[in-house]
Point group: C2
Chain length 355, copies 2
């Protein structure tokens, strides 16, 4: 879980309105600001604060102000077939390329059964699940993945060559919540290592390597070192496949060629590539029959015998939906230092943060 | 690695000819026997002996002789769109459904850019990589996955609800070998636990759970218990998504509904579902430009700094290609007890095993 413990609670709609104004002040079109803001607020609502305004707003603003990311959206369809499209994002905001790609993917899948699209020369696109979930209202299975600057070495190596390279899958249900899987190919995120380092707390085995490529439980050595992939060489393979498909196939950055990410590099564009897919359920089964079967399978999993010491079994995405309901009711927690940042940002741009 | 240590070496072509004869003796058409045999011999050549004749031949023969799997192939296209197809395998040999599905997938992807197909009511289809790699000669990226009888519990549970649910991705290169990723969503295969149990050797932490759902390093407790998914809840999520897409979307078995697998159940059909996809590289980039870029990326990974104690960095699939070259030259190792089984089988069916 990437949630923030503690912090001051703000109603989502108040944060939304303010964020939309902020993005427009730095030159983003109104409708683009609305979409970008929604992707961040949804991340916060789902407890994925690493992709919410909490972490991303000031970064996006700074990148735009420094000219490292374009405020104006320019998207060109470079190649297109009945079931595929390649969109050049021209260093526009990543969410803009993703939205157009996923919209086209869903339209194409409605006609041909499946579609797969890619965005090149893009930026951080937010939470992978946000894009996969766009297939759900159309009764489709959605998929998205992106590459990212290197944080992980290949098995046997000690040079960071692969990002956390996340991917998301969204599967529609009927009465049950949709199944929404969204995971990085590292065992834990760098943010978690940071947290342990601040607390001088040893990491669990299998989370990280030091800068010699040797497994470590020292959080400080891990910060100078590398994140471990899930399942060892298996996660390395998954991260590599995602990097090759998102990065190389789109002609974007890959491997060690990234100039650093987000706050770590305010000089060069990130130039990531992202991919999107949708499978039209009705090309395989009556949609109502499918979602009813998903409901039954979800119930079977939830009601299966618990492991000793486990209180319940969660379906992928279930915790995020619960967090969303809670945060819609009670508000989104923003840590005090971030509130201070928002107050400064708001004052500087003439859009006071609504405390 | 699923390779067999030791054993008697036999030339691949001698094993191939004998296996083709054996399959025909139990009622499989000549051309189907050739394909099925090739899928097994290729697995042996690649060192994936768990999917070679070593483990599968006697099992397939017994299933056919007991009427649990059909010797005759019957494949019906149930639903078809420009980029998708659903094929009912009618309990035919899994490789037959897979071959037709992957052939149609590649043809469709050549026209529309991408295609995704599924086979329902199928059987064990061999090595996932075998199907993904069929996209390579066409310059496409291939993908395949299948569900399988339950061996893994959901996170927090202690009932086996998901199979090892493997998937494979094959990416073409130019001068370099293609990248071929083929992995189960469990940290290790059950075969590895078996091996450790025979040697009374403790498992590594994180490999398995006992029957209460508690992590264990006791191989005997693990055999009565459950395999651990890669990356904990992440691997559970991947296995679930594969089960839902391969099993539920095709109307085949899923979750705990499997009647046991292969040698463990010689009474009922397995009824698995499998999926296949191909992405036509030229829908995104000039193929020669892509494969040259893959070559460069592969070289960058291979030549990156080694971890302390590591001798080299392998690209996914590289070890299997090396094993294939070695076994083509020196022969495929068959353990002595398996040779005895082959001799008995050959004598019984009137096709003496060529020792």
């Amino acid at each position: 879980m990437a949630g923030v413990d503690g912090g001051i609670l703000f109603p989502a709609e108040r944060l939304r309105g303010w964020t939309e104004e902020i993005m427009q002040r730095v030159g983003v079109d109104r409708q683009d600001a609305v979409l970008l803001t929604d992707s961040m607020i949804e991340a916060n609502l789902r407890g994925v604060d690493t992709h919410g305004i909490t972490r991303m707003l000031c970064v996006y603003v700074e990148r735009i102000e420094k000219g490292v990311m374009s405020a104006a959206t320019r998207l060109d369809v470079v190649r297109e077939k009945a079931s595929t499209v390649l969109i050049d994002c021209h260093n526009s905001i990543g969410q803009m390329g993703a939205a157009k790609a996923m919209t086209m993917t869903i339209e194409k899948a409605a006609h041909t059964g499946v579609a797969f699209s890619a965005v090149s020369h893009s930026n951080h696109y937010g939470m992978a699940a946000y894009w996969a979930m766009r297939a759900l209202p159309r009764g489709m299975i959605g998929f998205s993945s992106t590459n990212a600057p290197a944080a992980m070495a290949p098995t046997g190596g000690r040079t960071a060559l692969f990002g956390t390279n996340p991917f998301a899958v969204a599967i529609p249900a009927d009465r049950e919540l949709p199944v929404v899987l969204d995971l990085a190919t590292t065992v834990v995120a760098r943010g978690r290592i940071n947290l342990y380092a601040k607390q001088d707390r040893p990491l669990e085995p299998g989370w990280a390597f030091d800068d010699r490529g040797v497994p470590t439980t020292d959080p400080h050595a891990a910060l100078r070192g590398l994140l471990a992939p899930i399942g060892g060489y298996k996660g390395y393979g998954i991260a590599l496949a995602i990097d090759f498909i998102c990065g190389i196939l789109t002609g974007s950055n890959y491997g060690a060629h990234f100039p650093g990410f987000l706050a770590d590099n305010m000089v060069e564009p990130t130039d990531v590539g992202s991919v999107f897919a949708a499978v039209n359920v009705e090309s395989f089964m009556e949609p109502a029959e499918f979602t009813a079967a998903v409901d039954r399978a979800v119930e079977e999993i939830r009601n299966s015998a618990k492991a000793e010491g486990a209180e319940r079994i969660y379906i992928p995405g279930e915790i995020e939906f619960a967090t969303r309901a809670e945060r819609l009711a009670k508000g989104i927690p923003i840590p005090s230092p971030v509130v201070d940042d928002f107050v400064s940002l708001g004052n500087r741009l003439g859009v006071p943060f609504p405390r």
